[in-house]
């Protein structure tokens, strides 16, 4: 069963890899500083399965009790949905989030990984901060 799952995920990846970049999309580096990392632990308030990029919205509680709104973005909605990612995030749960920060300083980031409350880590970032070609 598990092999079947892996096989399915692989097939999705292979199929999409065959598709030429027929459609335009935003460049990661135009919006985010991929050389940097930030992090917070927050409560998921909304998971938006939208194009061109899925978005997660968080409430992050400060030590003084105040709440800061945060937003992180990920891949295209269709591929994430097909890979099953759309079903694993639950509003109200707490996640530790690592992200590449928005260059404009807003409370926005490109997600690097999510650490779930049960210890699972889902990595959603492919850029290597040590590779000059990536930054």
């Amino acid at each position: 069963m598990r092999h079947r799952l892996y096989g399915s995920l692989l097939v999705i990846a292979m199929l999409v890899a065959l598709v030429a970049p027929a459609f335009a999309h935003h460049a990661l580096q135009a919006e985010y500083d991929t050389t940097k990392r930030g992090g917070f632990t927050g409560t998921l308030t909304k998971f938006a399965l939208i194009n061109p990029h899925v978005r997660w919205y968080f409430d992050v509680k400060s030590p003084d009790g105040s709440i800061t709104k945060w937003e992180v973005t990920g891949a295209g909605a269709g591929p994430l949905r097909q890979s099953g990612m759309s079903r694993i995030f639950k509003v109200g749960d707490t996640y530790k989030v690592t992200y590449a920060p928005a260059r404009d300083g807003s409370h926005l980031g490109r997600v690097v990984d999510f650490t779930f409350a049960d210890g699972r880590v889902v990595t959603l970032f492919h850029e290597d901060p040590n590779n000059p070609n990536d930054n």
Binding site: R2, Y6, G7, S8, L9, L10, V11, I12, A13, M14, L15, V16, A17, L18, V19, A20, P21, A22, F23, A24, H25, H26, A27, Q29, A30, E31, L49, I50, N51, P52, H53, G74, A75, G76, A77, G78, P79, L80, R81, Q82, S83, G84, M85, A102, R103, D104, S106, L108, D113, R120, V121, V122, T123, L124, F125, H126, D128, N131, N133, D134
Partner: protein, 292 residues
Amino acid sequence: MTRRFIRSSAMTALAVALVWFLPAGVVAQGGQTQARAGNEPAAPTPRTSDGHPDLTGLWVRGGGGSNVNAPDPNAAITVLTKGRPCAPGQGECAPGVNFERDSGIQQRMTSNIPMYKPEFWEKVQYLDHNGNAEDPTFSCLPAGVPRMGAPAQIFQKGNQLAFLYQQQNTFRIVRFGPHDPINSVDQTPLGDSVAHWEGDTLVIDTVGFSDDTWLGWPGWFHSNNMHVIERMTRQGNTLTWQATVEDPDVLLKPWTMDARTLRLNTDSNAFLVPDLPCSERDLEHMVTKERG
């Protein structure tokens, strides 16, 4: 159990890392996880009762399919994710390369470029340079004909064909017969499409375009006087699509796009999954003009 869990998590992360690269609107077809792209060259071309090829089917881009039938999850995942960050249990990883920068270069490197009249090249360059703001697809607007390419699914019956496109849940109705006097002058992203057969090739003639779609990523605009001729030929389980753009207002000569080959998805359980909504929220945060 822990090891199994870690492996499971790693595999999931790897798969997601792969799909990270994808632009919006990539064709997503339900059931493709079990897809059997028809790759038997000798498959007969089905025909309708009037003797013409029947283009009905779910069509997969890329022309591949041989690897789809029997993937080796472990080995192939290792290869496919070699350029990605290491996840627990993944093993050795090579440095990544920048997909979006590569894509931006790749999309400008084509030698098949529409030849604009001299007075329009500055406009093309401006649109290209400011594509993050100017490219209509970045704002969730339709790609339109012919930029949206070949359909993902075709239904052919009687004197009509229905073309389904996954991106933005778009459909076109192509009719045999004359252009509609109203639809052909309405100026829309899809225009008014009529077809006829030239041998076994379906020739689709489309007019009535708006001028707010592009022909391609590098700022290739067009006028609302555009005329598009698409040719579709089915041979067995392969479908070839090619479009020619005539736009005498802005182009020196007709421009023929690179042909695309599609293969039939022969899995009777496969289906086209509707696209998800699009909402542009990146542009206000862009600090450079780089795009991919």
